[in-house]
């Protein structure tokens, strides 16, 4: 659209013709108050807060529905408009309970803010307020009608945004109320809590957060969700407790993340695993009676290290296996493989693989522009989704696909062995047999079906592959795309850092960045690097693994297989999982919300996680590994480069941020990699090494440290042959999250609530 010039309050503004006046004004820092207007959702013109005067028009116009055109003149700051806003708020407050002192939204309420700015302090009314009892719609969502201002954001977010359509309005006039469309005031939905998030007042409240705290009594920590592999930015509300700091809320008040407005049930409610009573807070050692008994950290580390050292020295590193995790930070996984390879001297290192990243990266090597980031999904004009059910397994991806189709008219094509909810947004759906993913490349190459023809007619394509596509079919498909040109790819793994675990070399044959162990390249600086591939996950977790010792960090293979009972088992975990229960030494670890570092989502987007909560008794896996290495007599400075690098001078600039300004000097130091690393427990000391050594991880530091997502690239060249490895897609639902999800009471409740509803509706 061509730009037009128009005038608001005497100020000449320019915007593309057809821009909504409210958007144009907000961009120019002219505030137009509104309750019902929400960018990206359908227009309502219901709240009447945005009324403005347009010259030559008799009636006041709503800025949220007025599209700007050349030469228009608007007034937004006249006494007339001030009176409209004030009167409107007076009307709203007439029936509003004004129970701000006990309202969850008190302090972060749009009605409060608007009343403060535009409203009147005097009540004109003497009548009793309309009252209705509060309703509980689900374990996650409560509705308090008296507080509701009927802006209909929740209805639209649920319907248009989530494609769930669980909410509606009943009654009319002043008796109107938001109501679940299902029977009995119960929400039969995805329990995403988006309705709570967009509620401008405290009408919709969260089952887990309500009446927990006042908003200003929390610290807000911006980090990344610990659950699925999409990596939503999440803001944790943290309160100090006598023992440390506890998370009381998770939301997405910071809309700048790759998730924009979105957060799902797991991100919003599933944080409570961190505060679970079942958390391990003391190291455990198996005693003479064969029982796990509490021990001090000193004893536990010493016991584990002594045994590992003894086995290594007697039988060599091959006798020891190491299993890493899809939920550790990049720095921890990197440290773990470095520890395994240089301290234990073993390539027996792997993790539970949820997608075939080695093949994916190998096939895309040298084509950085062909590996899609998650943000690309929000704008790609044509997308082919192969397998999987993103609505359940990758809620954010599903959100982006829906939104892209809805707002940008993107064309979504789906090839799947079963019907999925996203079919509703698809332009074309091709049902294929469960093993049909293997033949997908030839199916597309030949282009005989209408489905293939439509896809081939697209100028550009973004192919999103579920973990069902692996090995040769995956390589073939990418080869087809590269040959065709203008095709980008993404591969879907399962957990918060499954991509990072693969990227960081939790692989018996591959070093970080998919560098083969026999041609270590940049990793030649590692001391005593063994150069033959070690045992993989299946071999190490077999009942006859033959390993003398096994170190399992943040994984729970015993839930699936029977481990070798003769092996000396050291486990680092949050909970006494099936695996930890069999261990000889259990080391209680900090959760992802209790430490800092970076994560890589399944699209290769790297983001910072920041320590939010604090739990006494636990240690980050990073620190545990450093202590184990130290107790084994390793040279720590070689494992974690700390102490000497960087600068300690302040270069003449103030480092204080006393007046509230950002510590620009610290940011500058961090961005230029000059921040001194003073502690061996500082994960960012290793981050620097990762950026230096790992192909594809030389990232834009300033963006990363500013909490933005930074896309990592596949290595420029790769010459390994991916080993055939067992890929076990996790197939989580909206309310499960592997072993971790079992320890979230909120997710358990939601799953039960949902199962009950499903059983009921199945009878229809």
């Amino acid at each position: 659209m061509p730009d037009v010039t128009f005038t608001v309050d005497g100020k000449k503004l320019t915007a593309p013709a057809g821009t909504l006046l409210i958007d144009a004004c907000r961009k120019a820092c002219i505030e137009i108050p509104a309750f019902c207007y929400y960018p990206g959702l359908s227009l309502q013109a219901a709240c009447r807060m945005c009324l403005v005067r347009m010259e030559k028009v008799g009636k006041l116009q709503t800025a949220c529905t007025t599209r700007v055109a050349e030469g228009q003149i608007f007034y937004t700051d006249t006494p007339e408009i001030a009176q409209v806003r004030k009167a409107n708020l007076q009307l709203l407050l007439g029936n509003h309970p004004l129970d701000c002192p006990v309202c969850d939204a008190g302090g972060e309420c749009e009605l409060q803010d608007m009343t403060f700015k535009y409203g009147a302090g005097v009540s004109l009314y003497a009548e009793a307020k309309n009252h209705r009892e509060e309703q509980q719609w689900s374990p996650a969502v409560f509705y308090d009608r008296p507080r509701c201002i009927l802006c209909y954001r929740c209805i639209r977010m649920c319907g248009e945004g989530m494609d769930v359509w669980a909410l509606g309005v009943n009654n009319r006039g002043a008796d109107s109320a938001i109501v679940p469309n299902g029977a009995g005031h119960q929400l039969d939905c995805e329990q995403c809590g988006m309705c709570i998030d967009v509620c401008p007042v405290g009408a919709l409240t969260s089952g887990s957060y309500r009446y927990q705290t006042r908003p200003w009594e929390m610290n807000h920590v911006s980090t990344v969700c610990a659950h699925c592999a999409d990596g939503c930015k999440v803001t944790l509300g943290v309160r100090s407790t006598p023992e440390g700091a506890a998370i009381v809320r998770a939301d997405n008040r910071d809309k700048s993340g790759i998730n924009g407005d979105f957060l799902c049930a797991k991100g919003r409610f599933g944080f409570d695993f961190a505060g679970s009573d079942e958390r391990l807070t003391q190291p455990l050692i198996r005693n003479a009676e064969g029982k796990l008994a509490p021990a001090t950290w000193e004893q536990a580390i010493r016991t584990a290290a002594a045994k590992l050292k003894e086995i290594r020295d007697a039988k060599g590193g091959e006798a020891i296996g190491v299993i890493g995790s899809n939920r550790l930070t990049n720095e921890e996984n990197y440290l773990l493989q470095k520890f395994a390879r240089t301290v234990l001297g073993s390539n027996n290192i792997d993790h539970a693989r949820t997608a075939d990243y080695p093949t994916f990266v190998r096939a895309l090597a040298g084509h950085a522009d062909k590996a899609a980031s998650l943000r690309d999904l929000a704008s790609a004009p044509a997308i082919l989704l192969v397998g999987g059910n993103p609505t359940e397994e990758h809620p954010l991806l599903a959100w982006h696909l829906r939104t892209n189709v809805r707002l940008n008219h993107a064309r979504l094509y789906i090839a799947n062995s079963a019907p999925i909810k996203l079919d509703r947004q698809a332009k074309a759906v091709q049902q294929i047999s469960a093993d049909g993913y293997r033949k997908l490349a030839s199916f597309l190459v030949h282009g005989e079906s209408d489905f293939a023809k439509t896809i081939l007619a697209e100028e550009s394509l973004l192919v999103v592959l579920s973990a069902d596509v692996s090995g040769k079919p995956l390589a073939d498909l990418i080869a087809w795309g590269l040959k065709r040109g203008n095709v980008r790819f993404a591969l879907l793994g399962a957990y918060a850092n499954s991509r990072g675990a693969a990227d960081m070399g939790l692989d018996p044959a591959l070093l970080p960045g998919y560098v083969p162990v026999d041609k270590p390249g940049p990793f030649a600086e590692y001391t005593n690097l063994p150069t033959t591939p070690g045992k993989n996950f299946a071999q190490m977790t077999a009942a006859d693994s033959g390993l003398d010792a096994l170190l399992i960090v943040g994984a729970n293979p015993a839930a699936q297989t029977k481990l070798d009972s003769k092996t000396f088992l050291v486990v680092q975990d949050l909970f006494l999982t099936e695996t930890a229960a069999q261990a000889d030494v259990v080391l209680p670890a900090a959760s992802l919300y209790e430490k800092s570092g970076t994560l890589t989502n399944t699209f290769g987007d790297v983001q910072m996680v920041r320590k939010a909560a604090d739990r006494p008794g636990v240690k980050p896996d990073f620190e545990i590994l450093v202590r184990l290495a130290e107790a084994m007599g390793a040279e720590i400075a070689k494992l974690v480069p700390f102490g000497k690098r960087g600068t300690t001078g302040d270069l003449g600039q103030s480092r204080g941020a006393e007046a509230g300004e950002a510590d620009r000097h610290a940011v500058w130091l961090e961005a230029n990699n000059l921040e001194p690393r003073l502690s061996p427990f500082d994960p960012f000391a290793l981050f620097d090494e990762i950026a230096r050594l790992v192909p594809g991880y030389s990232l834009d530091r300033i963006n990363l440290f500013a909490s933005n997502d930074v896309h990592s690239a596949p290595p420029a060249a790769s010459n390994f042959v991916p080993a055939k490895a067992l890929i076990a897609p996790a197939r989580d639902t909206l309310f499960t999250s592997g072993t971790l999800g079992r320890y979230s009471q909120s997710l358990q409740q939601l799953e039960q609530h949902q199962t009950r509803k499903q059983a009921k509706s199945a009878a229809d």
Binding site: L43, L51, A87, L92, A126, A128, L150, V169, G173, D175
Partner: protein, 437 residues
């Protein structure tokens, strides 16, 4: 069947077939029915639109917009089907004209709809009737079936190459659905809430297609306009107000009823001559000239011609031409309360000023009428109403605010007489008890 009234001053155009059995198709044809549509089939769409424009026919729903103009806004070419929509959701208190048309002359609505369809090139029409008019639905359905049987509706109407279909539908009992876009929502099976305008129905209407939506009386008038000729029809009324209107006179008069009078007929004469004057020899206190949403007029303000322009000049509106006459036994506070109770009940709740404003006005007026008002309450009532006016999503808010402002303005003393514990001197309707919380 309600008794029909009549008066020598009446000019019977729309009502000429009332009470003559014209609900039966043969009788309707005998009385000259379906001739206009044949004329229109011969003349073509441009001629029809020009004829209706020239007749000065203005929308009978209340807004008084030129019918011919409205039709001319419909694009000639459209990818989506065009529709004719007959608004028979007659719900404005005091109004009962469409009721009589549906009852006595249903075919005139069908014929008018066909002509509108020919004018704008629509092949489908809907007759949407008020939910409470279910008894009339049978009559209308019968008429539609008869018209189909005769080949007046269907694929090749009257043997021509033109198609026109009609579907009848009733609402579920919501005043709000009388608003044209809310009616479309309702017809589409959704909650009856108005749409954002623009786009206007002529461009994006029912099911997204260009739609002509007219009041039932307007549509029923169209065949008469065609039959009489535009000039003859226009000559009946006052300048820029073509033809006649069905005036529904109710309240404290000797002979209440629906009278068809030329546009511009004097209001005072309507009350004192046509309707036989004030009942039981009492004095006139006030007149609501065009349905409950129009501002009240005082006895010294009623010597005016009843057309859109003259009533507007007098500070009120012709609206649906429902004249409500109030005598000196009427408590105006109670009348204001009755009026606002209706709008409080009928507000759809979509926008804040209407939803909250009607609720508060009702509460405050209830309290004032019960004698618990304080001096400042009167100004508060007016303040609320004035701040609703022009700020709501659709005209329902204005319909509630306008009369309230007029009541307070013109009968302030009566409000003051209710204050400070004084009971209503005229209370008789058994209002809800006010309890002090």
């Amino acid at each position: 069947m309600p008794k029909l009234v009549s008066h020598p001053d009446e000019v019977k155009i729309i009502s000429r077939r009332f009470g003559q059995g014209a609900e039966k198709i043969d009788r309707y044809i005998e009385l000259g029915g379906y001739e206009a549509v044949k004329k229109c089939l011969a003349q073509g769409s441009d001629w029809i639109i020009n004829e209706v424009k020239a007749s000065g026919l203005r929308g009978r729903g209340g807004a008084g917009f030129s019918t011919g103009m409205k039709w001319s806004f419909v694009p000639k070419q459209s990818a989506k089907p065009k529709y004719i929509l007959v608004n028979g959701d007659e719900s404005e208190p005091g109004t009962c004209k469409d009721h009589l048309i549906f009852l006595h002359d249903p075919h005139s609505v069908i014929e008018g709809a066909i002509i509108a369809g020919l004018a704008v090139g629509a092949k489908m029409g809907f007759i949407y009737m008020r939910g409470e008019y279910r008894t009339l639905l049978e009559i209308m359905e019968r008429a539609v079936a008869d018209a189909y049987a005769r080949g007046f509706l269907g694929k090749n109407i009257f043997g021509s190459d033109k198609e026109f279909q009609i579907i009848t539908q009733t609402g579920a009992g919501a005043y709000e659905v009388g608003e044209e876009s809310a009616l479309m929502e309702s017809l589409e099976g959704k909650r009856g809430v108005p749409r954002i305008k623009p786009p206007f129905p002529a461009v994006v209407g029912l099911y997204g297609g260009p739609t002509v939506i007219n009041n039932a009386e307007t549509i029923a008038t169209v065949p008469h306009v065609i039959n009489m000729g535009a000039a003859a029809y226009a000559a009946v009324g006052s300048p820029r107000n073509g033809g006649t209107r069905l005036f529904g006179v109710s309240g404290c008069v000797e002979r209440p009823g629906v009278y068809e009078l030329p546009m511009g007929y004097n209001l005072k004469k309507i009350i004192y001559e046509v309707a036989g004057g004030i009942r039981n020899g009492r004095q006139l206190k006030a007149v609501v000239p065009g349905g409950s949403s129009t501002p009240v007029l005082l006895p010294d303000e009623i010597d005016i011609g009843m057309d859109f322009d003259q009533v507007g000049k007098a500070g009120s509106m012709l609206g649906s031409a429902a004249v409500i006459v109030l005598d000196d036994q009427t408590c105006m506070v109670e009348f204001a309360l009755r009026t606002i109770s209706f709008y409080r009940h009928e507000s759809c709740g979509w926008c804040i000023p209407c939803r909250e404003g009607t609720d508060w006005l009702k509460k405050s007026l209830t309290r004032i009428h019960a004698g618990f008002g304080e001096a400042t309450d009167i100004d508060t009532v007016r303040y609320i109403a004035e701040n609703m006016l022009g700020h709501t999503f659709c005209p329902l808010g204005d319909a509630a605010a306008m009369p309230t402002i007029a009541f307070v303005k013109k009968f302030r003393q009566e409000f003051e007489d209710h204050l400070n514990g004084k009971p209503c001197p005229l209370a008789k309707m058994g209002l809800p008890q006010f309890t002090v919380v």
